[in-house]
Structure formats: structure tokens, C-alpha cells
């Protein structure tokens, strides 16, 4: 029997959930620059706008008890994994109600209950951690999977290779997802990596590598679903390169002048959200009005999240000394 395509596998309610998650992340991220300029948040702020199809496609291809580990552009990822926007926003505000209780900030979000095992600010540094989480799964002989997301820049770090090697060596149930948005800060992939077809990097580790359109949420979903299934069946790691684009600069302080207007326009036309909306309408799943209603609900949700963050307390001064040691 021919395997079903994601369009057949996913029920309309799943498709709507995917749409809703992407809209939520976009609304959340696009609300941030204004709040940042008002001084409500500090630090770096790496926004996810443009890359939603990757995070949401990944998250929908996983089970709730599967683990996710990621880098520093992770607001969208933790929300795709299930975190409520208000707790994510509160973390950006540095509040006690934040997902890391105000101690992590934009780059270091964590949710133990959701098995979101952190955002990390050292490029590539979290890849061996993901392999370790996967080793713990093997050790306990349970059937969870860990999905590790990272940017194109991470593939030039030494630990990328150490992690790929060890994951394949021990057949760890990990799915590596490289979000190739074309730039490591301001340096394009072709100027940073001797091999710019990043998915081919896995061939040194006998790990299947494949490229997927990171602007097509269902394409990401399908690639990750298959990789997760393989990992869960004991077939070891898969490495997926999702080709995507960030609509904003590397971080809030980066105007992104190293990219041409023409290049940005080409990618804007590939915006994963309106394109997915057009598909949902054309396929007859939902009307434009139904989708507009979702947009409105998500806008309200983000407004409420901002209110929650504003009204939340700062951490108690004593919190400076907590959480460092157990004994």
C-alpha cells in the first residue's frame, strides 16, 4: 500500500492547529521589537519570523513526551512544543513567572514539563547535550525521541562533528534539524562553509542526510515524521537540513544590511504563513473568514500575554542565590 502523504494523514483540525501555531509565533515575534524599544526587555533578541514552518512542522511530527533541544532563536520553538505565550513573554520581560523564572532570558528558555530541554547561546554547544538526552532514552529502553535544532553556523563547529559521530556510533534516537537560514549572523553560508549543501555533512557519519523546503510546513512535518519514526524504531539518527530564511536581522541590533532588498523580496513571497493559508483555502479545508478568525484570536492571545508579562513580578532579590547548588 502506498504510504499516505501528510495532506492525507493530517485531519483538518491538525491543519488548523498547524496554522494557528505559525500565526501565534509570528504575532508573538512581531510584537517584540516595539516592546524592546520601550525597554521592557533586555539582552539579545533573535526573532523567528520567517522560520515558523520549521519549528511548527517539527513540533507536530513529535509526540508530547519527545524531547526538543535548541539554540538561541527559540521563542517559536518552545511555543510550538506547547509553552503558553504568556510564560515565554514573561521570560523576555525577565519576570518571575517566565519559563526560566526570569534567569534565562531570550536565549535560555526551558520547560521541564514539556520536555523542552533548553535554548543555548553557544553556537553548536547543545548538540552533544541532545545526544546525551538520547543516550538516556536508550539507557532506559524507553521509546522517546529527541529532536535537536540548530542553525547553519553550528555545522562549522567542532562539537557538531563530535555529536554526529557519537549519535551514529551509539544509534541514539536523535533527529538533527539544521535550520539553514542562509546566514551565520552576517556571514552567508557560502562564505562560511566549504560545503554549502549542508545536508551532505552527515555522510561522514553514515547518517542519512536530506534537504527539505523549510518554508513548507507540511514538507518539514513529513520529513521529520519519518525521521522520528526511524529513530523510535531503533534505526538511529537522521540529519535534516531545512532551507529557510529569517525576515529580520540576526538579532534586534542587526538591521540586516548585508542582504539585498531583492533577496528579501524573493523570500517574503515564500512566507510560510500566507502560503499555507492559501493552500488551506484552495483545498477547501477552511474559508478565508475562518482563518481570519484564528488570526484575531491569536492577536488577542499575544496582547494578553504582554499584559501578563507586564503585571508579573520581578524575581525576589533572594533569587540571585537560588538554583545554583542543591546541597
Amino acid at each position: 500500500m502506498k504510504e499516505k502523504s501528510p495532506r492525507e494523514l493530517l485531519e483538518p483540525r491538525d491543519l488548523l492547529a498547524i496554522y494557528r501555531d505559525m500565526v501565534r509565533i509570528r504575532e508573538f515575534e512581531e510584537s517584540c521589537p516595539k516592546l524592546y524599544s520601550q525597554g521592557k526587555m533586555g539582552g539579545f533578541l533573535h526573532l523567528y519570523s520567517g522560520q515558523e514552518a520549521v519549528g511548527v512542522g517539527v513540533a507536530h511530527a513529535m509526540h508530547r513526551e519527545d524531547y526538543m533541544v535548541s539554540a538561541y532563536r527559540e521563542h517559536g520553538l518552545i511555543m510550538a512544543k506547547g509553552a503558553e505565550p504568556k510564560y515565554v513573554m514573561a521570560e523576555l520581560f525577565g519576570k518571575a513567572t517566565g519559563v526560566s523564572r526570569g534567569k534565562g532570558g531570550s536565549m535560555h528558555m526551558f520547560d521541564a514539563d514539556l520536555r523542552f530541554m533548553g535554548g543555548y547561546g553557544i553556537v553548536g554547544g547543545h548538540l552533544p547535550l541532545a545526544v546525551g538526552v538520547g543516550y538516556a532514552i536508550l539507557y532506559r529502553e524507553s521509546d522517546e525521541v529527541v529532536v535537536c535544532l540548530f542553525g547553519d553556523g553550528a555545522t562549522n563547529q567542532g562539537v557538531f562533528h563530535e555529536a554526529m559521530n557519537m549519535a551514529a556510533l551509539y544509534r541514539v534516537p536523535v533527529v538533527f534539524v539544521c535550520e539553514n537560514n542562509g546566514y551565520g549572523i552576517g556571514t552567508s553560508v557560502v562564505r562560511a562553509s566549504s560545503l554549502d549543501q549542508l545536508y551532505k555533512k552527515s555522510c561522514a557519519y553514515e547518517t542519512p542526510g536530506l534537504k527539505v523546503d523549510g518554508m513548507d510546513v507540511l514538507a518539514v512535518y513529513e520529513a521529520v515524521r519519518q525521521a522520528v519514526h526511524k529513530a523510535r524504531s531503533g534505526e538511529g539518527p537522521t540529519y535534516i537540513e531545512a532551507i529557510t530564511y529569517r525576515f529580520r536581522g540576526h538579532s534586534i541590533s542587526d538591521p540586516g544590511t548585508y542582504r539585498s532588498e531583492q533577496e528579501k523580496k524573493i523570500w517574503q513571497e515564500r512566507d510560510p504563513i500566507p502560503n499555507f493559508a492559501a493552500f488551506l483555502v484552495q483545498a477547501g479545508h477552511f474559508t478565508k473568514q475562518e482563518l481570519a478568525a484564528v488570526d484575531g484570536e491569536e492577536q488577542e492571545l499575544i496582547k494578553a500575554a504582554i499584559r501578563f508579562a507586564e503585571e508579573s513580578p520581578d524575581p525576589d532579590p533572594e533569587e540571585l542565590w537560588t538554583d545554583l547548588y542543591v546541597e
Binding site: 534567569k103 534565562g104 530541554m117 547543545h126 546525551g132 556510533l169 545554583l324 542543591v326
Partner: protein
């Protein structure tokens, strides 16, 4: 009580803890089939199998990172690094991941990881295999730093380190693996963060740890001939740091010298001196002095190497300056 070597004491601790808790596993370069570069993991692969005694590639950042992730996911890994110099290869993992995860994520996760690493000079291994880096790790909040000197402590402290829910750097001296001493069998725990008085005395406090404990004991014998009765305080670790014992000793002796094998500049001896100034100044009859290793990369030549490390004569001479 049986008399065994430090190496056997450490092996006993690993074996007993692995028998007690199935979430403990060991990983590192050559820890399994080869039974450890210094044979500390001897017999463990045969007893516990390769899932629990995992041979790794030579990839220190990968080893520590894997161990950190496994610890965050609920296991209790013991990572062996072949020497403490190689820990520097994994320093990003140790400082930026292992040490900070618990705090950075608001206490939602713990990293009950023990990193064992041999170090220290004395075998003509040159500048890339000979250093004592305990001060480096003690500088970083979030890491426990444990440094045993005698076999009984080696066993008791390692068991406590493994049971600790904090990440622990457990630093062993290569020159002590063969040292013998009486070690209690079975359950023998030495709590972390409690110094031990290895020789009691009235006239001067020698604050030290690791192999320098033996150098200080030898110096104390020499000083005894001069009529000076030295107390030797073995810190047994730097974090937690037991200043209570140091200050109590100081109240008795009123003089102190710190003795460390590692580089003197910016080393832990300076930290002890500063704390004595802050907390025990009124008890001092003389300035606190320091003895430490030469501030040079460890030379290969036998005579140069020897002169780079404090010996009993140097310690005794430094102490004599106080009287």
C-alpha cells in the same frame, strides 16, 4: 580495615555505587575494554556491560556534553577525562553548560554529573599533561571541586560526589594512584566540603590538598626538628570550601602558609589568604605566606620539573620565615 591503593579505593567506590544505583554509568576514553588509562575502571565493563561502561571516541567536548545531557534527562553519569589538561578541550561544555544549566533554567533541571580527571606533575609528561587546574574550576560558580589525597578520602569523597545532585569535578593526582592506606570496606562516605586535619600541631597551619599533603607532612617532620609544630589541614576540595576548619586551626596556631602544586599566581592559595584577611585577621601573629608551583608551563627535563613543584624543603623554609 584493608590497606589498599588510591586506585583500588576509587575503583571500589565506582563499583559499589554502580551496584547501588542503576542510573549511574561511566563514559570516557578507554574506560571500558582498556579498563582506564590509570586502571581506575578495572573490571567494571566485565561486571556492568557496555551500556554502563561506555567507551567513547577521543572527543572531550562530546563526552562532557553527552554526560551533561544524560544527567539533565535523569541519569547519573561519571565522565572520565584522561587528564585534566584535556578538560580544557571540554571547557565550553563544563563552564557554559554543566555549571550553568540549573541556574540558567530557574532550577527546573539538575546536572548530577561527576567528571573525574587525573592531573598533577611528576612523571616528565611536559606542559600538556602535567598541570593541576583545581583553581580554574573553583573559580566557576555551579561546580563542586573535590580533590582527595589519601585512599580512604578517595573512596568516601568519590561516593559522595557521585551521590551529589550538583556537578562535581573530581580531580585525582596521578602521583597518588599507587599510594596505600587503610580504607573502610562497604559504605564509607566522606561529606563534601569538610577539610581534614592530617597532622595536628600548635605553631603553624599548613593549608593544602592533594599530593602536597604528603609534602607538607614531610615538611612538618623537618620543622619538628627545629622545634616548630605544624598542623596540616587537607582541604579535600575547593567548593564547598571549609574555611571553618582553617580558621579554627589558625586560632590555635596564629600562623598560616598555603601550599599548592599549581601555579602560584591567581591560584587558590591567594583565595585562602584573602579569606583569612577578611575573617581571621585578628588571629594572625604574622603575614600569611604562600608556596606554589613555578609560573611556567611544566618543563620535560627531570630536574627542571622537580624544581617547578614545591617540595618539603621549600615549604619548611617558607614556614621558617614566619618565626
Amino acid at each position: 580495615m584493608a590497606e589498599i591503593t588510591c586506585r583500588e579505593a576509587l575503583n571500589q567506590a565506582l563499583r559499589e555505587e554502580m551496584e547501588r544505583d542503576s542510573s549511574i554509568f561511566i563514559l570516557g576514553e578507554d574506560v571500558g575494554l582498556y579498563e582506564g588509562s590509570f586502571k581506575v575502571t578495572k573490571g567494571l565493563l566485565a561486571k556492568f556491560g557496555e551500556k554502563r561502561v561506555l567507551d567513547t571516541p577521543i572527543a572531550e567536548a562530546g563526552i562532557v556534553g553527552l554526560a551533561c545531557g544524560a544527567a539533565m534527562a535523569g541519569l547519573r553519569p561519571i565522565a572520565e577525562l584522561m587528564t585534566v589538561n584535556f578538560a580544557i578541550v571540554a571547557m565550553d561544555q563544563i563552564f557554559n553548560h554543566v555549571a550553568v544549566a540549573s541556574y540558567m533554567f530557574g532550577g527546573q533541571v539538575r546536572v548530577p554529573l561527576t567528571i573525574r580527571a587525573p592531573g598533577g606533575a611528576g612523571h616528565q609528561l611536559g606542559a600538556q599533561h602535567s598541570h593541576s587546574l583545581e583553581a580554574l574550576f573553583a573559580h566557576c560558580p555551579g561546580l563542586r571541586v573535590v580533590v582527595p589525597s589519601v585512599p580512604a578520602d578517595a573512596k568516601g569523597l568519590l561516593k559522595s560526589a557521585i551521590r551529589s545532585d550538583d556537578p562535581v569535578l573530581f580531580l585525582e593526582h596521578e602521583g597518588l594512584y599507587g599510594v596505600k592506606g587503610e580504607v573502610p570496606e562497604g559504605e564509607h562516605l566522606v561529606p563534601l566540603g569538610r577539610a581534614d586535619i592530617k597532622r595536628s600541631g600548635r605553631d603553624v597551619t599548613l593549608v593544602t590538598l592533594s599530593r602536597m599533603v604528603y609534602v607538607c607532612l614531610e615538611a612538618a617532620e623537618q620543622l619538628a626538628k627545629e622545634g616548630i609544630d605544624a598542623e596540616v589541614v587537607d582541604l579535600r576540595g575547593l567548593n564547598p570550601l571549609d574555611m571553618t576548619t582553617v580558621l579554627a586551626s589558625l586560632r590555635k596556631t596564629r600562623r598560616a602558609v598555603t601550599v599548592e602544586e599549581s601555579w602560584l599566581s591567581f591560584g587558590w592559595g591567594g583565595e585562602i589568604v584573602a579569606r583569612i584577611m577578611e575573617q581571621g585577621f585578628d588571629d594572625l601573629d604574622a603575614p600569611v605566606l604562600r608556596v606554589g608551583g613555578a609560573d611556567v608551563p611544566m618543563p620535560y627535563n627531570k630536574h627542571l620539573e622537580k624544581s617547578a613543584i614545591p617540595d618539603a624543603a621549600r615549604v619548611a623554609a617558607r614556614v621558617m620565615e614566619l618565626f
